[in-house]
């Protein structure tokens, strides 16, 4: 029974968790966190099951309420959406586990906190499986509103950051809705597959170009695409560690996936109607983002802000791959969705653990980390290698496929940008590693050397998800070939 209803349950399971959270919180507040972890893990498990089913049976189309599209709402699970769902729910479930100890000290607030965290996950999962443009908008708003509130739990500066996020996020969602409205006005349909049939016959290419422009700008804001990333650095920097660890790795990925979905499944047949220049603009915007984000990351002294600008840069890779639109580049973009979710999750988990144990978010606070938190430091090293693109870490392979895609697409400048982005990552990640591994802490200079005594790893609830992501980054690197050829449908030779 379950395997027939996977598409809606990917969103309904975390949703049920979120609805039960306040009910459970009223009687047994201690059990809210385990409930959230269980709902997150169930979502991740269902995503894996969905991926297996899709690979075995082909694309699954689900008609809600039994109404055939375009009249009813359709959900679509294909290899790409199932893959993205696995990436988002997997990292999301680990972030929920991580949020337990990180959110300690908010007694009485567990129910709304974890309720909103599950709603965020439900919104993102709904966006990924949506086959209807308006349905995607509604799920986008669930995820966004939960995100604004979660960021604001940091208080103080986080409030201002959350307000800015809300204003820009609303502009993004509204422009997306406006673009959908233009498509509706010209075709009368909201269903993606139906639109794909009708778009090539459109009377006015101008309206189509404007509509797609609004959709790209709207989702571009949500995915933090330079120069539309204005909300992102402050939100990631000032959000509490548990929230940053949840939001930073996964929210932008769902928006990036939705953008790819619309550009390829709705507009796939509209080559002559201005899709090609739009994709070129997207690819170059991605290239600019890689460089601009990297340069700004180098100038930061706060670890979280450095990671935020690194996200701007890394999202540039994904936009670049989507824009190049050849099989190699797309395989790279999707592999990078998984890789970046894992490495950014890993680094934000580590940042939260370090802030809890070493006292602050500044890079200088990381000094002596390798002696006090050797496992955490090892994970940081793995994630940093992935960010730079050193094999066998996963990041190397996504950038490799992107590079192949850029060369095949006849874009040597963008290929150069991909390499330059790696060099920028070397610089900014080396600054992290330098403080974490090489520079001793002031008090270490004159205190003797007894590393066993000063070892202070984060509690297991934080360390386990961190280690899981560290191992995962290496595993994706090692098994990249079966993922790329078996799931993403790209064979290198």
């Amino acid at each position: 029974m379950l395997s027939d209803h996977l598409p809606p349950f990917l969103a309904v399971v975390p949703l049920l968790g979120a609805l039960l959270a306040p009910l459970l919180g009223a009687v047994r507040p201690r059990l809210v966190h385990p409930l959230a972890v269980a709902a997150g893990a169930a979502t991740a498990g269902l995503s894996l099951l969905a991926l297996r089913e899709v690979l075995a049976r082909g694309v699954i189309r689900y008609h809600l309420g039994g109404w055939a599209p375009p009249w009813g709402i359709e959900l679509v699970l294909d290899p790409l959406s199932a893959f993205t769902a696995v990436a988002v729910s997997g990292v999301g479930a680990l972030a929920l586990l991580y949020a337990g100890p990180a959110a300690a000290g908010r007694e009485g607030r567990e129910a709304p906190f974890f309720g909103l965290a599950l709603l965020l996950l439900a919104g993102l999962m709904g966006m990924i499986v949506a086959g209807d443009l308006f349905n995607l908008f509604v799920f986008l708003e669930v995820a966004s509103i939960a995100g604004y509130a979660l960021v604001a739990t940091g208080g103080g500066r986080a409030l201002v950051a959350a307000f800015r996020y809300l204003i820009l996020g609303t502009v993004g969602a509204s422009l997306y809705l406006l673009g959908v409205g233009h498509l509706y006005l010209m075709t009368g349909s909201l269903n993606m597959a139906d639109l794909a049939q009708r778009v090539p016959e459109l009377a006015s290419p101008r309206v189509l170009a404007v509509a797609v422009g609004f959709v790209v700008i709207g989702l571009g804001i949500k995915m933090g695409l330079f120069p539309l990333h204005g909300w992102l650095p402050d939100a990631y920097t000032h959000a509490p560690p548990a929230v940053a660890a949840l939001i930073a790795p996964i929210t932008t990925k769902a928006a990036a996936y939705a953008l790819a979905r619309i550009l390829f499944s709705v507009l796939g047949g509209a080559e002559g109607l201005g899709r090609a220049p739009l994709l070129t603009v997207l690819a170059w915007a991605g290239g600019v983002a890689i460089v601009a984000g990297g340069v700004m990351a180098i100038r930061q002294t706060d670890l979280r802000r450095l990671l935020a600008y690194s996200s701007v840069s890394q999202m540039g890779y994904i936009a670049l791959g989507i824009g190049l639109a050849n099989p190699a580049a797309l395989a790279g973009a999707f592999l990078h969705i998984l890789n970046h979710a894992m490495m950014k999750g890993c680094l934000f988990f580590a940042a939260g653990a370090a802030a809890a144990r070493l006292g602050g978010p500044a890079l200088t606070d990381l000094r002596g980390m390798h002696r006090r938190m050797p496992w955490t430091t090892a994970c940081v090293v793995v994630a940093a290698l992935s960010m730079i693109g050193v094999p066998p870490a996963g990041g190397f392979f996504s950038k490799w496929y992107l590079l192949v895609g850029a060369v095949q697409g006849g874009q040597p400048v963008l290929a150069g940008v991909i390499l330059a982005g790696g060099l920028l990552a070397v610089v900014y990640m080396f600054r992290v590693l330098e403080h974490a591994c090489l520079v001793p802490r002031d008090e270490d200079e004159h205190a003797g050397s007894d590393p066993a005594l000063e070892r202070r790893e984060a509690p297991p609830g934080m360390l386990v998800p961190l280690l899981a992501l560290g191992v995962g980054i290496l595993a994706v690197g090692i098994w990249n070939a079966p993922i790329v050829s078996g799931v993403l449908g790209f064979t290198a030779r």
Binding site: E141, Y148, F163
Partner: protein
């Protein structure tokens, strides 16, 4: 002259929605009072509702409620307004009020901390 008037008149709804949208958008991004930004956001979102509902209008059409006397022998779709944008915009209004609630909750917290809604003053105090 009459042609211009006819041209403008045929899309009058659309010109109004554009005007409202720009007023709201400018207020959201340029106004320095945070509460005014929220008011601008409200205008901006309602402009989109006006756009969607304009797509549902049919000249000579009536309410999308099937009268009881014609339910037996079918309905002529051209005589009734398109109900789909109406249903979509009901959802959009709910999204609007939800966003508004969270925005105002943030404003109350921001005011408690910074004692003002003035963006410049808040940025100075950060």
């Amino acid at each position: 002259m009459t042609e211009i008037l006819a041209y403008a008149g045929a899309r009058y709804n659309y010109w109004v929605y554009i005007a409202l949208m720009l007023v709201g958008f400018y207020t959201m991004i340029a106004h320095r009072n945070l509460l005014k930004k929220v008011i601008g956001m409200n205008v901006f979102q309602t402009a989109i509702i006006l756009f969607f509902l304009s797509t549902s209008a049919k000249l000579g059409g009536t309410l999308p409620i099937v009268p009881s006397q014609v339910t037996k022998d079918g309905v002529a779709a051209a005589g009734l307004m398109n109900p789909l944008p109406h249903a979509l915009m009901l959802t959009a209004i709910v999204v609007m009020v939800a966003t508004l609630g969270v925005a105002l909750a943030l404003l109350v917290r921001i005011f408690r901390r910074y004692r003002t809604f003035d963006e410049d003053v808040i940025l100075d105090r950060l």
